[in-house]
């Protein structure tokens, strides 16, 4: 595990030294800022009709914008994790140093998760702005951010696995985007299948849309925690196995 720190630091360095990182962060914050502005504008003019919702809830749930942002953000963040090292061959010097596969995967995942958290961090300012004109339920805010962390964590884990199974960054990008989209569409199935059928149960269980609505209204359901726990841990350990498997390729 002592290999964790150097690799973690290098991953962060490698990400933030590229223009891609700053483009992603800028676009992310621009979109989120617009999103926030439109919501606040909407609530200030039409606040009476939609009294069962708050801007906070709408910011994290009930709109497609959050998923759109994740869909565009996660694949380019994870695509280079392993694919780039395998294409350029640096994986060879990395794995011949005294490091463990688990340490390498953990360090890379932690680095990309840190980046993800850092991207979301400025959005806390929106809460501070909302605080100027009304009350904020900080428990709900915490629950919403937990949701963002869990959904993002799951997506990033999937993205890392895709990066580990191909040498092409582009293929990793496309595969990750497709899987994230597939998961979302499967969740939407909740609204098109009939109540009571098995399909409906499955769809509602994996529905990111419904989960985020729950988290955004302050509902932390243990089923959701287990679901996202698995969504993070499963691809993570398959990645560790994939890294081990290269030795036999």
């Amino acid at each position: 595990m002592r290999s964790f720190w150097p690799i973690y630091k290098r991953e962060l360095f490698a990400f933030f030294v590229t223009p891609l990182a700053w483009v992603l962060i800028t676009v992310f914050l621009l979109v989120q800022g617009m999103h926030f502005f439109l919501l606040v504008d909407h609530f200030s003019t039409a606040g009476q009709q939609i009294s069962d919702q708050t801007p906070l809830q709408a910011f994290f749930g009930n709109t497609v914008l959050l998923y759109l942002v994740l869909f565009l953000l996660v694949p380019p963040m994870t695509m280079r994790l392993f694919a780039e090292e395998r294409r350029s061959g640096t994986i060879e010097s990395l794995m011949t140093a005294p490091v463990s596969s688990l340490g390498v995967v953990l360090a890379k995942y932690a680095a990309v998760l840190t980046t993800y958290v850092a991207m979301w961090a400025p959005t806390v300012l929106y809460l501070v702005i909302l605080r100027q004109t009304g009350d904020i339920d900080w428990n709900v805010a915490a629950s919403a951010y937990l949701g963002v962390l869990l959904v993002g964590g799951g997506y990033l884990s999937i993205g890392m696995l895709m990066s580990a199974i191909t040498k092409s960054q582009f293929l990793a990008l496309v595969l990750t985007a497709m899987l994230i989209l597939a998961l979302f569409i499967l969740g939407v199935g909740e609204f098109v299948t009939r109540d009571g059928t098995v399909m409906h149960d499955i769809c509602s269980h994996v529905s990111v849309w419904a989960h985020m609505n729950d988290f955004a209204s302050g509902v932390v359901d243990s089923r959701r925690l287990v679901f996202y726990g698995s969504l993070i841990v499963l691809p993570f350990f398959v990645t560790v196995r994939a890294v081990d498997a290269w030795r036999w390729g």
Partner: protein, 336 residues
Amino acid sequence: MISVQHLVKRYGWKVAVDDLSFEVDKGEVVGFLGPNGAGKSTTLRVIAGFLGATSGTVKVAGHDIAKESFEARQKLGYMPEAVPLYPEMRVVEYLSFRAELKRVPRGDRKRAVWDAMGKANVRDVANVVIGHLSKGYRQRVGLADALVGSPPLLVLDEPTAGLDPNQIREVREVIQELGKEHTVLLSTHILSEVEASCSRVVVIAGGKLVAEGSMDEIAKKRRSAGLHMVVRGNLDAALAALRGIEGITKATRDHAARTDGEDVFAVRCSWSKKLDEAAAARATEAAIGALVGAGLFVREASPVKSSLEELFGELTGARAEDASGEAEPDDAEAAS
């Protein structure tokens, strides 16, 4: 320092390394020689712990690379063939990262990086971004990477590949210097490389060991390839006399050799491939006898030894012929 026993590595159906065994002792600089595709890189990757062996054992400094992988990898500095480096990092940043990864204690890290840069002669580019370096510098940064933390054993995969002659000389000098403190195993497909820097050589072809020993021992395997003679008299008569002798496949005038006088010329004879040393000696006697018998005067006669390059070709090429020869009976058995 390195002990490779019955190493086999298969990629799917393709056998890359086939029952290879050799040793590298402490303090040696060993050249690992073979044509492209002979299994050199695969073997070195197994030794470095990047690939797993299909069967057989590899020990580095007494540690089995499969069972005590960490200990083995800590004793070893490895420079991969393509010299992969992170292009976005500065040289000193990269080497510090590698030092930390190789568990050089925090207090010694700066010193370890500085020493490695000194030995590999890259201190002048310490603050240059790796992506901007020339090929020669990148190669030496790769060398510095292998040297960080001063591991007792260095494994270098084609350290001079793709360099210009000046850079090759520089890298060779560095390697010779390193040989004084480290045990070195370096692979190459260039023979002169081995002559310049190695105390011993291991030659493989088709994944199998074909020769092993000091450079002198290998050189002794060179056989005489023909005969060089300086003759006075009639050229056509001389060539006709020589062509009749058993064992000589070709006799031609050697225009390259300078001779004085109009009727003095040099002749070069080539032995047929099957000729052994004794038969070559008899053929030499017969050739001189034939020329004298034809009324010509022999001024000089000297054996032509095959060059090391030709020897290398024979060693590695012969192996390929063996392999195809072995394949046929198997096919016949399968058919019956």
